[in-house]
């Protein structure tokens, strides 16, 4: 058995497209720019990053759906380009969202079909499918058509489908996207149970709490490259020397945000809308008290609760991603 479940060295992927006939324009987008990664057997590994960071492309390179432009990857010791079938026998792939299932078939028919495709022996199929319905808590709804399923139920069915052939490595690409909090918690429980049985899981997400709760190690990917890698505790160090001020507000303008960003000692400032309110998060140097300056910049804005706290994993993540954004980024799209 290979020492590592997943190994990637210098993995790169460039998408090329052409538009127009008379004066064709060629575009190249470098989605992954040299990813090096090893994931041990039985590890639950998180790949975290903003939209367009290269998470899904990385997963698709590892699970054989895409061929790398450069670099190498191995799953359980098998090369993803040359030993595709060996790799596919050992992996499961689950992605988030509504698609990927046969809506007009029942959940049981979906699993029956994929069991055939993935080579689950006929005599085992019935038992395995029943086991998986139990695992993903869909027992009693097996014969319902998938088109009547909620998003959470679909997502659990996706997981059951991904596990039919008892894969050694499971790729979960944003499995909780669009799922309500209760269903997301159930999903997390299912994933944790899987990891406990020795399945290697590579999980991509942009939900920090999910990664923090589940993953032993996390890689933060941005702009197609891994920017930080470590345990959640290690990643938190990226926000060392900082403190965080959170202000509940109603009507912070872009100009005020820019003003706050420019205040002495302020490292990051962002606004997230939660219902009718906004939450302004300001990361600043630990030794500098920016609260008074921030509140002055918000003059005229109705304010709610103001809280000062220590940085969390999410703050560390924001710090890492923003650092990448701040650096001069190589042009993402170039005409060729």
């Amino acid at each position: 058995m290979s020492e590592h479940a997943i190994e990637a060295v210098g993995l790169r992927r460039t998408y090329r497209s052409r538009t127009g006939w008379l004066r064709p324009q060629r575009r190249e987008v470098q989605a992954v720019r040299g990813v090096d990664l090893t994931v041990g057997n039985g590890e639950l590994f998180g790949l975290l990053g903003p939209n367009g960071a290269g998470k899904t492309t990385t997963i698709k390179l590892l699970n054989t759906l895409l061929i790398p432009t450069a670099g190498e990857a191995r799953i359980c010791g098998f090369d993803v380009v040359r030993q595709t079938r060996e790799v596919r026998r050992r992996i499961g792939y689950v992605f988030g969202g509504d698609r990927g299932l046969y809506d007009r078939l029942s959940a049981r028919d979906n699993l029956r079909y994929f069991a055939e495709l993935y080579g689950v022996p006929g005599r085992e199929q019935k038992r395995r499918i029943a086991e998986l319905f139990e695992l993903v808590r869909l027992t009693g709804r097996e014969n319902d058509r998938v088109e009547g399923y909620s998003r959470g139920m679909r997502q659990r069915l996706h997981i059951a489908r991904g596990l039919l052939h008892r894969p050694r490595v499971l790729f979960l690409d944003e499995p909780s996207i669009g799922v309500d909090p209760v269903a997301a918690r159930e999903l997390r429980q299912t994933v944790a149970d899987l990891a406990a049985t020795g399945t290697t899981v590579l999980l991509t997400t942009h939900y920090m709490a999910e990664a923090d709760e589940l993953c032993g190690r996390i890689a933060v990917i941005a702009n197609g490259a891994i920017q930080a890698l470590g345990t959640p505790a290690e990643l938190r160090h990226h926000a060392d020397g900082r403190q965080v001020l959170e202000v509940e507000a109603y009507g912070v303008s872009d100009a005020q945000l820019a003003l706050i960003h420019a205040l002495p000692g302020v490292r990051e400032a962002s606004v997230v809308v939660t219902g009718a309110a906004q939450v302004l998060t300001v990361q600043s140097d630990a030794g500098v008290d920016v609260q008074a300056d921030v509140l002055r910049a918000l003059d005229g804005v109705r304010l709610g609760r103001v809280t000062a706290r220590r940085p969390t994993l999410e703050d560390a993540y924001v710090a890492i991603v923003n650092r990448v954004d701040a650096q001069a980024r190589p042009a993402e799209a170039v005409g060729v």
């Binding site: 054989t64 895409l66 992996i91 078939l105 079909y113 993935y118 080579g119």
Partner: protein, 252 residues
């Protein structure tokens, strides 16, 4: 796996409201077209031949749009990546889909004959009912295998339906499904001769009207289709790899 896959895909296809509406309307249109064409030609005695020809057109349309559309539908549903990820030769993964489209096409044949009988009183007296009962499924399986060759090209094309639209009428014309091959320009002959649709249509027509021996035509139809299957399987392996390189398995 092929049988279970074909049955489940046929189940999924036959539950589509679009497919159901098409299946209800198209056979009536095709039966009407065939009947009036032959009546206008002063050959009312050949109405059964007309109805069978129209039914074959329905099967062909189902296979063509099914194979092209099936790959595109799998892409839209997000299932194309999931099925191509199976540890199986790509041809084995796609063949059940094309067989399912041929299977649902059987309905077109039956419905066209039924509408022909109900609306126009075409007598359903087949010259050789047993041969007809064998020739129709044989033709369907052949077209399913031919569909694999078509589908292999569609894996690469994100807008495969544009290609399918241009192939429907030329193929049923040169195959002589409705209009006799002898009425077409000579240069279409060699094209028709290499298409399994030509021999399948001929076998079914011969069984229905007794105009010739069924088995040689059906045999040639199956032989060409097996060759298409082998070629399609080779191409499928090649295009699957190209699709992974070009990133065309997913919609975006």
């Amino acid at each position: 796996m092929i049988a279970v896959g074909a049955l489940l895909h046929a189940k999924q296809l036959s539950r589509s409201p679009f497919e159901i509406a098409t299946a209800l309307i198209v056979p009536v249109v095709q039966a009407t077209l065939a009947v009036y064409l032959f009546r206008a030609g002063g050959e009312p005695g050949r109405l059964l031949e007309a109805a069978v020809g129209a039914g074959l057109m329905g099967i062909w349309s189902s296979v063509l749009f099914g194979s092209g559309g099936a790959i595109q539908n799998q892409r839209w549903q997000g299932t194309l990546e999931m099925i191509m990820l199976a540890p199986r030769p790509p041809a084995l993964v796609v063949l059940p889909i094309t067989l399912a489209t041929a299977l649902t096409g059987t309905y077109a044949m039956l419905a066209t004959l039924a509408w022909g009988r109900l609306l126009y009183g075409i007598p359903l007296t087949f010259a050789d009912p047993l041969a007809f009962a064998v020739a129709v499924p044989g033709c369907i399986i052949s077209l399913g295998m031919f569909g694999l060759l078509l589908a292999s090209t569609f894996v690469l094309l994100r807008n495969a339906n544009a290609l399918t639209n241009t192939m429907e009428y030329p193929i049923w014309l040169v195959s002589g499904m409705l209009i006799p091959i002898t009425a077409l320009p000579g240069w279409t002959g060699p094209i028709g001769a290499v298409l399994p649709t030509t021999w399948g249509a001929r076998a079914v027509r011969e069984a229905a009207t007794g105009s010739g021996p069924v088995w040689p035509s059906l045999g040639i139809c199956l032989a060409i289709s097996v060759a298409c299957l082998a070629l399609g399987a080779l191409m499928m392996t090649h295009v699957e790899r190209r699709a992974r390189a070009a990133a065309t398995l997913a919609l975006a």
